[in-house]
């Protein structure tokens, strides 16, 4: 009996799908597994692979007890609250308003809100560095000009006398300044999410409510909000994940060479500094896994608080 030759046609699908799996294995799976392996070792990459030393969970304990990690975690949570929560508090009613009232030029308006989300980080850094500069920035120039306005002028003149804010150079202002950029950047993203969810809510519900005499607020409160809960759950989950991985905005706006950079050092930036500045890749990897567990825990908490109800509402809406 002749050995059966493999059917070329049967192999073809595997061949076609292989590039994805190969690339995923190299760029997705391998770094993931290697970072677990690395997190259990001490290793300075400049010294070569042979210098790797097994240390078990010491990197985890070291990271958890590091004062900079505590600071960075505080900063991360601060940004999650101050920059993350307002994104939803503004995006939700704004989406409702646009959905209900804006007919002409709606796509243009939504596009304008969405542009910051797809704008390159370099452009954002350039624009906001120019806006925020203490001596040459547009914001401070506007504040200085505003001192000429009657009534408004005198409190601002006092502010100017005390020295105009150093938005990206004074620890008191750096956090709010960076938080605003994050808010500005992701507002449009959440707006699009909520708008897309609003568009699938049955219009009959609003018409019925109008016939029953419900006003806009009542419709928003009793129809829109409950039916948006699945999307709110999804959007808040994305915000939690994004906030805890926050890196780009504080990194590009506040130079690491500035002492004040520690006031906006998020856990992801701390991880970067450990790896690429201190050369401590083991602890940086351990920190990445600690962050993963924090994100998982918060996402689980969000699902507990929000998720079941959201699922229930989704079923009820169907």
């Amino acid at each position: 009996m002749k050995p059966r030759r493999p059917d070329r046609r049967a192999l073809a699908p595997y061949l076609f799908i292989a590039p994805f799996f190969l690339l995923f294995a190299v760029f997705g799976l391998f770094p993931l597994l290697f970072s677990i392996y690395l997190s259990l070792h001490q290793w300075n990459p400049a010294e070569g692979l042979h210098t790797m030393q097994w240390v078990g969970v010491e990197n985890y304990l070291f990271a958890l007890s590091d004062p900079w990690f505590h600071d960075s975690l505080y900063n991360t949570l601060w940004f999650a609250l101050v920059a993350g929560v307002p994104q939803h508090l503004v995006a939700l009613p704004l989406a409702f308003f646009i959905h209900q009232r804006v007919r002409r030029g709606r796509n243009l308006l939504v596009g304008a809100y969405f542009v910051p989300y797809i704008t390159s980080s370099v452009a954002i850094a350039l624009i906001f560095s120019t806006l925020y500069s203490r001596d040459y920035g547009l914001i401070n120039a506007a504040l200085a000009e505003a001192t000429r306005i009657p009534f408004l002028g005198s409190p601002l003149a006092a502010l100017q006398a005390a020295g105009l804010p150093d938005w990206l150079g004074d620890a008191e202002f750096t956090k709010p300044a960076v938080a605003f950029v994050i808010f500005w950047r992701f507002l449009g993203w959440n707006l699009v999410l909520y708008l897309s969810a609003l568009q699938v809510i049955d219009k009959d519900l609003y018409e019925a409510a109008t016939l029953d005499g419900a006003g806009s607020w009542q419709q928003f409160r009793h129809i829109t909000l409950p039916l948006l809960k699945p999307m709110m759950f999804f959007a808040v989950t994305l915000t939690i994940i994004g906030s805890l991985q926050l890196f780009e905005e504080p990194f590009i706006l506040v130079d690491l060479e500035k002492g004040v950079s520690q006031s906006v050092m998020t856990s992801a930036i701390f991880m970067y500094r450990l790896a690429f500045s201190d050369g401590d890749f083991g602890t940086a990897s351990a920190l990445s896994w600690i962050l993963f567990f924090i994100i998982a825990a918060l996402t689980w908490l969000n699902a507990r608080l929000f998720g079941r109800e959201a699922q229930g509402n989704q079923h009820a809406a169907r």
């Binding site: 190299v26 760029f27 400049a46 692979l49 210098t51 004040v260």
Partner: protein, 434 residues
């Protein structure tokens, strides 16, 4: 090979092979023998790459069979790429350029050939170079792992016109730190300009005051952390005084505000390496030509800012040619002088420092013969050993200083915390000094 090492190698090689499939073909590989001619690959960064390119003609004259390939990346990208190359042993160039800031970390890596050994015998060249720069290129146990290409004698650059308007002379800036700060107060009162860009600059230079040969900046010979010493306390106090008096523009070096401060004449002085004159002249503030002067650092401090080095990775394929290239860039008088002409980078080679070019009046500095002063400074800078933890200590000290400035953290506590954090981070690492 033990199984652990095998596993590690496999783990690292897998993505590299994959990366090779995707992008490796477009990436510059290690030096290779091409169609009959060899290629010497030099990994560099701006502006040092310009000096290497400028020496291209001389290289071709001496080595017509060896093509010179300069792979230049941005400063941070270059050092990151070299760190990765050292880690994996893959993609290493024949010659690696290293900035002073990374030299401690890199020479401790064990990934470079000892240039004191045959056939290089850099020891013979030792006396031809500025003493402190050779010390910076030393590795453990008296090895010489890198050769200096250029140096940055520290100087105080100041705006002569602003000083004149405030009724000040150079000696008012340089006598001592108290005089420097007092001059800043007068400058601010009469011209509205800031004395310095950033109080951290003052702290950074003041903590080098009184250093002697062999003393480390952050660590002593036994690896003990020195940041709780009187030297650091004094430097922190000076920096804080400058900030409290509103004498600094709070503009960190190389930021937009820093550049704008020079362009608009709002920063009256800057302590840095002599090479800053080239940057001011070429792009930072070309319109201020003739208004600047150079003076010794205040308080008699002899210090250096920056410097570039060349080293040969152990896995380089063309070590002999690499050594020839390094000697060309570092030990050839004409090439060193060309770098001075093209880039304003100060020569590390003593014979180049004896050239008539040193006496040339510098138009940007109002005709001042400043190179003679810089040469003198270079000869006096103490030979301070570098540590692989210097960059780490710099970060921690900078952050604690910021807390002193912005959160009114008491200096002794800030220094105590800095020491404890440096020890904590450095002590647990292999080869730690402490």
């Amino acid at each position: 090979m033990n199984p652990h090492r095998k596993l590690r190698r496999a783990l690292v090689l897998t993505p590299l092979l994959g990366a090779g499939l995707g992008a490796g073909l477009s990436r510059p590989g290690p030096a290779r023998a091409g169609t009959g001619n060899a290629t010497l690959q030099v990994a560099s960064f701006p502006d040092l790459d310009r000096a290497a390119r400028a020496a291209g003609a001389r290289w071709r004259e001496r080595h017509p069979q060896i093509e010179l390939k300069i792979v230049s990346r941005q400063y941070a990208d270059h050092h990151l790429a070299m760190t990765t190359a050292l880690a994996t042993g893959s993609g290493l160039p024949d010659v690696m350029a290293i900035d002073l800031r990374f030299i401690g970390k890199f020479v401790a890596s064990g990934g470079f050939v000892d240039l004191n050994e045959a056939p290089y015998e850099a020891g013979r060249l030792r006396d031809q170079f500025v003493r402190y720069a050779m010390r910076q290129g030393e590795g453990p146990r008296g090895t010489q792992l890198a050769l200096p290409a250029d140096i940055g004698p520290g100087t105080l650059l100041y705006r002569q016109d602003l000083l004149a308007r405030a009724g000040l002379v150079e000696a008012d800036l340089t006598r001592d730190w108290a005089a420097y700060l007092e001059a800043g107060r007068r400058l601010k009162a009469s011209t509205g300009t800031y004395l310095m860009a950033d109080a951290a600059d003052l702290r950074d230079i003041a903590l080098r005051q009184g250093l002697q040969d062999g003393e480390g900046l952050y660590f002593d010979a036994a690896g003990r952390v020195l940041v709780e010493s009187e030297r650091f306390a004094r430097a922190f106090e000076l920096g804080r005084s400058a900030r409290q008096a509103g004498l600094d523009a709070r503009a960190v070096a190389w930021s937009n505000d820093w550049a704008a401060g020079f362009k608009q004449g709002r920063i009256a002085t800057q302590m840095m390496g002599a090479w800053l004159v080239g940057h001011l002249k070429n792009w930072l503030a070309p319109d201020t030509a003739g208004l600047w002067r150079s003076a010794p650092l205040p308080g008699g401090v002899q210090a250096a800012y920056g410097g570039s080095f060349y080293a040969i990775p152990k896995k380089a394929q063309h070590k002999a040619a690499a050594w020839d290239f390094i000697r060309l860039m570092s030990a050839d008088r004409e090439v060193q002088l060309d770098s001075l002409r093209v880039l304003d980078s100060f020569p590390a080679l003593l014979s180049a420092q004896q050239d008539a070019l040193m006496e040339e009046p510098l138009a940007f500095l109002g005709g001042q013969r400043a190179r003679l002063m810089w040469r003198e400074t270079a000869a006096r800078v103490p030979a301070i050993p570098v540590s692989r933890f210097d960059a780490l200590a710099t970060d921690i000290v900078r952050d604690e200083f910021e807390k002193v400035l912005t959160r009114a953290k008491p200096i002794p506590q800030a220094l105590r915390d800095a020491r404890s954090l440096i020890e904590r981070r450095a002590r647990r690492r292999p080869g730690s000094p402490a």
